[in-house]
């Protein structure tokens, strides 16, 4: 009975973002059987939700989708989306492979085997709910596929907003709607686990100085990614308070990074570059707009990054050294930023139509109490050999890659993911040799 709920793999990858996908692909290509467990309804992580990526300005979807579908179609990779991990630890039972994970499949209220992703349910559903995939700036339906290039193409029913009107069930061509679905528990046994749980942004709601998320037209950087994405909430950059095309846009750097008073003392590493990237995209779509980046240090450290920064300066994007101390609501939907003009001329209050907060990155997952892997004082997973192999954790068969081990850009994440796959493969080939 129990065994029907047990699935065996070589490696369990926790998190289906770019780190998880790359790790899984690199292991799958080596012939290892890999399970990816993802909490969201689609794989792709943060990257698939971005507009374009620096410094190449590739369309994020165009370079993420191939990885997503490669993983989805890979003969050695199995995806488990919309799942919660309830425990992840060493396994000591008789069937032990080394790693045991207890997982809950959350109900979509849609039968994944029957659904063909046609979205008839979504179109017919009468209830609009705020679309968090679009930063809450527009709506989707109470039953919907999370976003256009989601994998798998399966809708999710938001039962909190469902009236049980039955229209989706009526219209579904495959009888895939199942109002009675329940969470289902299953177990994954594996020889190794790789933690690729990524990051979240510090919530702007918790930040007093920048208005606790209550000042209109002060958005966080991921919301800005959506505004810039071609399939974003408005299909263009508009101000959320009234639909105005903004004429003056400001970036507030280190909003919650390198700032002990805001709880994050480390550098979030990617904000300088994504702010510059967004600024460049903005000056492309709104050529007449004034764009200002308020910063402390521009950290354009990676390959091609410095040149990217210098290009942005040459394009007329204004860089002002100074940390914005406070943002207040201005007139007609503007936001007022206050900063010190460091040439000695005092304090400046500047009005902007739209302000983007480059919020700091925090870990996407807290292993406690699910998994005994250790974390550092920065709450990211501890890397026990940061020089020889940054992917090694304090548990010998658990590895870490990407932003789960500290803020990281996509390039460094993809590379580190390969490295994690390598270490896991080595661990497994060693254990074969020992046996």
């Amino acid at each position: 009975m129990v065994s029907t709920h047990i699935k065996k793999f070589d490696t369990l990858v926790v998190g289906g973002g770019i780190a998880g996908l790359q790790t899984a692909l690199d292991l799958g290509d080596q012939g290892y059987k890999v399970a990816i467990v993802e909490k969201d309804a689609s794989i792709g992580g943060k990257m698939i939700r971005l507009s374009k990526v620096f410094p190449t300005l590739d369309c994020a979807s165009c370079i993420t989708t191939p990885k997503m579908s490669a993983a989805a179609h890979h003969e050695n990779i199995t995806l488990f989306t919309y799942c919660n991990l309830t425990s992840l630890d060493h396994d000591t039972s008789s069937e032990a492979l080394g790693v045991k994970a207890v997982i809950i499949q959350n109900p979509r209220y849609v039968d994944p085997d029957k659904c063909i992703g046609c979205r008839q349910c979504e179109y017919v559903c009468p209830i609009y709910v705020s679309d968090e995939e679009q930063g809450g700036l527009s709506a989707t339906k109470a039953i919907s596929i999370p976003f256009s290039n989601a994998i798998p193409q399966l809708p999710i029913m938001d039962i909190e907003n469902c009236m049980l009107c039955g229209q989706c069930e009526k219209v579904c061509p495959t009888n895939a709607i199942d109002y009675f679905q329940k969470p289902e528990e299953f177990i994954i046994l594996a020889k190794t686990a790789i933690i690729t749980t990524g990051f979240e942004l510090l919530p702007k709601e918790d930040n007093f100085q920048y208005g606790n998320g209550k000042i209109p037209n002060v958005v966080d950087s991921l919301q800005m990614e959506r505004l810039l994405a071609p399939h974003g909430p408005y299909n263009r950059v508009l101000r959320p308070s009234d639909g105005m095309e903004p004429d003056s846009i400001a970036y507030v750097q280190c909003a919650g990074s390198r700032d002990k008073s805001m709880g994050v003392s480390y550098c979030s590493r990617v904000c300088c570059m994504y702010a510059i990237k967004q600024a460049m995209l903005l000056s492309g779509s709104l050529p007449l707009a004034d764009i200002t980046i308020y910063y402390m240090d521009i950290r354009a450290f990676g390959k091609g990054y410095e040149q990217f920064y210098q290009n942005a300066k040459a394009m007329g994007i204004e860089f002002i050294k100074g940390k914005v101390a406070k943002i207040d609501e201005g007139e007609n939907g503007s936001a007022i930023v206050r900063y010190e003009n460091q040439d000695g001329s005092g304090i400046v209050t500047a009005n902007h139509d739209l302000v983007v907060l480059s919020m700091g990155m925090i870990p996407g997952w807290n292993p406690e109490p699910i998994c005994p892997v250790s974390k550092d004082s920065d709450h990211f997973i501890t890397s026990i050999k940061p020089k020889i192999s940054p992917v090694l954790t304090n548990m010998n068969d658990f590895f870490v890659a990407g932003a789960a081990a500290g803020p990281k850009d996509i390039v460094d994440t993809v590379t580190e993911s390969g490295s994690a796959a390598m270490e896991a493969a080595k661990f497994m080939s060693n254990s074969i040799m020992e046996n």
Partner: protein, 605 residues
């Protein structure tokens, strides 16, 4: 396989067309039964069927049964976007025992029923089916290009990245040869001391890796080597090596399946007079300082260098990095290092902290443009430096600090800086020692790169295929890169890159053969006249060659494809006057026939 030998004209192909209702998603706008009727009249179509859900098991069974019974030998499914179910139907065909490449997909959901309505939708669906059928009749069974591959990798460069790559690959059961040009392994790590930010000793890190690499039975190490030539392609490269030993030059070849470039980088050396460098022995580079700290035996509270007590140190950041045209002086080749060297901020702060903690009577002034402590634990170094009372001063690019000798002062130097943190006031800082935070420069590997046709970026570092999708790969299959030959990196980052390169190499070679996409160029020897236009057009050097063959007793030139190297882009097909070369699975002729089907409106039989 046998089919290849049957009649070459496509007219006898038997196409099965399967049209999906998609539970109304298609059939609500497309009259599926009408499309089926029209399909039945299309050339070579012997079977046309509809189903509620072609992707369902019963739907797939229709195809399998028709194939197994021999009714059909080509398959067209008209349904949703190919990204969703092309793989599904190819699998079904495989299960029926047929070659999966006899399949063509017609996208009548995303590109018809969801964007058009009414009769035009039905008409367009019919046209798409007709054009798919037109292509299908020209399809032939294909097999993956199989290349035998040596289970062996050559790693070029014995620094930390090369060593780590070698260990990782060897651990997966593949033999590795590690080639180093100098006489010692370890590269730049040999010149480092305590590594930022955590303070591990470089020598210990290196020793741990050396223990593994030297004792691994699958790893052969050659030092003092020069690579003379590289030939071959993925799975079958050949390297000619010359090795200096005991004043003799020994030459040998390595046959290898894959190559990893881990050739590293070198520290920037300031030009003569740059901030006084080369003119005063108390103006040194960061690398010099690290060496001094490594060897230092000062015991008092003040740092001593060359017997001199160092009360004040001025450190200048971004020397030889982040150079700006018009402001910085280019090298002899006219090039500037416009990139950020990534590692120097943390390394400099690390050194400052060591000095301040061990020699509290030595003061430090750091003059910077931006402090770039981006990595994990690095911001803490900066914070710690502040707590250690290092004074930071910020200069703008157009106002570089000026180092000058003093006369009559207690201090040998004074460094003048326009400090933007002090409202752009000019400040004088007296100094006993000036340290220049010199960055990383690419080593000159242009010889190797041209031998192997590897791209080099404008920053003179080796250039990967794509920084995000394929950061450790070159456009040339089977050659990878790791470490600072790609860009500045610290030890941990170089090791990550090494692991990533190793995983690619071992995935490639693990089976002893490599299966490549069958969508490569193929020459029709009957048509080829050996013009060579295709070779001109070919985007991948080495993929297409003119070879001499015997034809009717005469030696003639003919184009020959090296499938393992072909990208399958089709640039060759476009230029062949004889139409003698084409891409398997995506042939020009197939497109022409598809266009014919489109203009004939697809149902005018």
């Amino acid at each position: 396989m046998t089919e290849k030998n049957t009649n070459k004209t496509p007219d006898n192909k038997k196409i099965g067309v399967y049209i999906c209702y998609c539970g109304g998603n298609i059939s609500d706008h497309v009259d599926v039964e009408e499309v089926k009727k029209r399909a039945e009249k299309m050339p070579n179509v012997v079977v046309a069927r509809t189903n509620m859900f072609m992707c369902s098991d019963p739907g797939q069974e229709l195809i399998i049964n028709d194939l197994k019974s021999g009714k059909i030998d080509r398959v067209v499914v008209a349904s949703c976007a190919p990204s969703l179910h092309e793989a599904t139907f190819r699998d079904a065909i495989k299960r029926a025992g047929s070659n999966p490449f006899i399949y063509e997909h017609a996208n009548i959901r995303e590109q018809v029923s969801w964007v058009h309505q009414g009769d035009p939708a039905t008409d367009k669906a019919s046209v798409l089916v007709a054009s798919a059928a037109a292509k299908a009749k020209l399809l032939k069974p294909l097999d993956p290009v199989r290349v035998e591959a040596k289970k062996h990798t050559t790693v070029i460069g014995g620094g930390i990245a090369g060593i780590k790559t070698a260990i990782d690959i060897a651990q997966t059961g593949i033999n590795v040869t590690l080639i180093e040009k100098s006489s010692v392994l370890g590269g730049q790590l040999n010149n480092l001391d305590k590594l930022a930010p955590s303070g591990e000793k470089a020598s210990e890190v290196l020793q741990e890796l050396l223990d593994q690499v030297l004792n691994h039975k699958s790893i052969t190490i050659h030092t003092d080597c020069k690579i003379e030539a590289v030939q071959g392609y993925v799975g079958n490269f050949s390297l000619s090596i010359s090795k200096k030993s005991n004043n003799k030059i020994e030459k040998f070849n390595i046959e290898t399946g894959a190559i990893v470039m881990a050739t590293g980088a070198i520290p920037y050396i300031p030009f003569d007079g740059e901030f006084g460098f080369g003119r005063h022995e108390q103006v040194i580079t960061l690398q010099n300082l690290i060496q001094i700290l490594k060897d230092n035996k000062s015991t008092g509270s003040i740092l001593e260098v060359n017997g001199k007590r160092i009360r004040n140190i001025v450190m200048i950041h971004c020397v030889g990095s982040r150079q700006i045209p018009g402001i910085h002086q280019p090298k002899e080749d006219g090039k500037l290092n416009e990139y950020c060297s990534r590692t120097c901020c943390a390394a400099m702060l690390n050194a400052s902290n060591q000095i301040r903690e061990n020699f509290p009577a030595t003061s430090i002034y750091e003059m910077y443009r931006d402090i770039r402590t981006y990595g994990r634990g690095q911001e803490e170094l900066y914070t710690q430096a502040s707590a250690n009372k290092v004074v930071f001063m910020r200069y703008e690019t157009d106002a570089q600090p000026e180092v000058s000798l003093t006369s009559g002062s207690d201090y040998p130097f004074q460094v003048k800086v326009k400090d933007s943190l002090t409202f752009n006031e000019e400040m004088d800082v007296p100094a006993d020692l000036v340290v220049l935070a010199t960055g990383i420069e690419p080593d000159d590997v242009s010889g190797l790169a041209s031998m192997m046709k590897l791209p080099i970026g404008t920053d003179k570092f080796l250039l990967e295929v794509h920084p995000k999708l394929r950061p450790v790969e070159f456009p040339i299959t089977g050659i990878f890169l790791a470490g600072t030959c790609q860009a500045p990196m610290d030890a941990g980052e170089a090791c990550n890159a090494a692991g990533a390169a190793a995983v690619k190499a071992s995935a490639l070679l693990r089976k002893g053969f490599i299966e490549l996409d069958p969508f490569v160029a193929e020459v029709n020897p009957d048509k080829c006249q050996g013009h060579g236009a295709c070779i001109e057009a070919c985007l991948k050097e080495g993929a297409l060659n003119l070879v001499e063959v015997e034809n009717d007793g005469k030696t003639v030139k003919r184009a020959q494809v090296t499938a393992a190297m072909c990208l399958g882009c089709g640039a060759c097909a476009a230029v062949c006057p004889e139409k003698a070369i084409d891409i398997n699975g995506w042939a020009l002729k197939q497109y022409e026939d598809m266009v014919d089907a489109i203009v004939s409106d697809g149902f005018a039989v």
